[in-house]
């Protein structure tokens, strides 16, 4: 069994926990409960006859009074950087988060989740989707938009 550590990274309240809940349990809860520390969820995958398990680290989000929890990043094979498309500051912080993570794990793969797409009008979703780089996905944990795709693309990047 191949096990890979994947870290969810982003500002607080962007939907990291919700993306994991949607991906692992296919569930969603609208209420916000701040994540503290780290919680690891598992997801078994079959990739080209390969049995593997993603160990998804749901880390607490950074905030103006608390930075990124670097201690959880070590040894990660992949990372998902998450922002909230309705909060510009969370989008603006993505590059900073990516640089910090890659300094600790320069061989790790990563993808970007522009989450809470359901809160944007349809035409804005389309415009934003077209402007995103190749490793970025417009996601909605609430409406289950491209969540599986996000994780499976990262898994393939890490394993194949």
């Amino acid at each position: 069994m191949i096990r890979k550590k994947v870290v969810m990274i982003g500002d607080f309240g962007v939907g990291k926990t919700s993306l994991i809940r949607r991906y692992v349990d296919n569930a969603f809860d609208d209420s916000y409960l701040a994540t503290i520390g780290v919680k690891i969820s598992r997801k078994a995958l079959h990739l080209e006859d390969m049995e593997c398990e993603l160990l998804i680290w749901d880390t607490e989000g950074s905030s103006p009074i608390k930075g990124l929890p670097y201690s959880y990043f070590k040894g990660a094979s992949g990372a998902i950087f998450v922002c909230d498309v309705t909060r510009d500051e969370t989008v603006n912080h993505l590059n900073e988060h990516i640089n910090t993570f890659l300094m600790l794990n320069n061989a790790a793969k990563h993808v970007l989740a522009y989450n809470k797409a359901d809160l944007l009008p349809f035409h804005q979703q389309e415009t934003l989707r077209q402007s995103l780089p190749g490793n970025a996905f417009l996601t909605s944990a609430k409406e289950d938009v491209d969540v599986d795709l996000l994780f499976s693309i990262l898994a393939k990047e890490m394993l194949l």
């Binding site: 520390g37 780290v38 160990l55």
Partner: protein, 398 residues
């Protein structure tokens, strides 16, 4: 049982610590009884440690270093395991085993989580309020008790740049020398203030005793539009003199204030034939030229309006009828001498009336008498100045 194990058991009995021992192949060699609550089931000797402790995946190298270095330590803080929060630390146990210690910090962590939850919610609310305040079209700033600007929204920062010493109170022009004075002066009113090319409406709100909130709503466009609108309402677009409606208002005001004036009605003779012969474009040109000529004979404080068509009305600011008569006679001659385009010469008939100070006198009655006098001038051969007939008060009021 050695001394270390006794100490360890004493600690474990407090229900705060539990442990798992693993070998270098990450197989479990022993575990405390209480560890089951974190791992869902009690691990057995020989089990794969990664199944119970996925936290070790990716950190294998750090863990293996513990076996060879007695004082090295690998730790992970605040890990949620089965609804408990634990600090995990991997420590040297002996040459073949490492001890993974579970330190139960659930109570403390849940308290921290509550604080973090409130803090994050407050940050979200603060950010949202900041965005709302920044999106307001008004310039907004808050002054503290020291008279210093403690907060300014984005519009304010954009308008004044980095300048925090704008001293708004100086623009009011009332000799105000601080924000307290400005706040008192404004009260609950909105007051206009001009700053550079812009006009703002300024309002102050006292926030408890600590802060004063000032809002500046830019009304430059409205002020300009109002100006243009009032210009359009007041002035005849063809000749540039007052419209009759505005003239009437001013006349009523003169009458009400008891200010002296003599009223004059002027009508261009045979103007209809000019329009019929040369067209309205030339007619308009002549009206503009005619206005130019008559304005040259009026004084600065006299009022002039176009009544309509080719008829004009003046209020000469004098109570001397003879003086008015002389000036209008001079105007008549000037009109007759002036060379107008295409038609060359024109004449005008002029009627004059005045305020009789009779109780039933109105602006309308004075105007009517001047108009009648002008028609008398027309009927008596045109190109004349005609005084309105004298009427007794009884005749007028009957």
């Amino acid at each position: 049982m050695n001394q270390d194990r006794r100490i360890l058991n004493a600690i474990l009995s407090k229900d705060i610590f539990d442990y798992v021992l693993v070998d270098k192949a990450f197989r479990i060699t022993a575990a405390s009884q209480g560890v089951e609550r974190y791992l869902s089931s009690q691990p057995k000797v020989g089990d794969d440690a990664f199944v119970y402790l996925p936290e070790l995946v990716g950190n294998e190298e750090e863990v293996l270093q513990v076996f060879s270095r007695k004082y090295s330590l690998f730790t992970l803080e605040s890990v949620e395991k089965n609804n408990y929060y634990v600090n995990l630390s991997v420590e040297y146990f002996d040459e073949k085993q490492a001890m993974i210690l579970f330190h139960n910090i659930t109570v403390m962590t849940l308290a921290r989580q509550g604080i973090m939850q409130k803090s994050n919610e407050a940050t979200l609310l603060h950010t949202m309020l900041q965005k709302i305040i920044d999106s307001l079209s008004s310039l907004l700033f808050v002054v503290d008790r020291k008279g210093e600007i403690a907060f300014a929204n984005q519009r304010y920062r954009e308008y004044f740049g980095g300048d925090k010493n704008v001293h708004l109170y100086r623009y009011i022009g009332r000799g105000l020398d601080d924000y307290d004075a400005l706040c008192t002066y404004l009260g609950d009113k909105e007051v206009p203030v001009e700053m550079g090319d812009d006009t703002f409406m300024v309002q102050a709100i006292q926030i408890e005793s600590m802060y004063q909130l000032f809002t500046l709503s830019r009304v430059t466009t409205i002020v300009r539009e109002n100006f243009h609108l009032s210009q359009e309402l007041q002035y005849d677009s063809l000749t540039g003199v007052y419209r009759k409606k505005f003239f009437d208002e001013r006349l009523e005001q003169l009458l009400k204030n008891g200010e002296p004036f003599v009223l004059v009605v002027v009508d261009i003779d045979n103007f209809k034939s000019i329009n019929d012969t040369y067209g309205h474009t030339l007619g308009d040109e002549i009206l503009r030229e005619f206005t130019y000529v008559i304005k040259g004979c009026l004084r600065k404080n006299d009022l002039i309006a176009r009544w309509g068509g080719e008829e004009f009305v003046f209020a000469l600011r004098t109570n001397e009828i003879d003086d008015a008569m002389t000036r209008m006679e001079a105007l008549r001659k000037k009109i007759a001498r002036h060379t107008f385009p295409k038609v060359n010469h024109l004449t005008a008939s002029i009627g004059i009336s005045w305020n009789t100070h009779c109780p039933c006198e109105t602006a309308e009655s004075i105007l009517r008498r001047a108009d009648t006098a002008m028609y008398v001038a027309k009927n008596e051969g045109k190109n004349r100045v005609q005084l309105a007939p004298k009427e007794t008060c009884r005749e007028m009021c009957s």
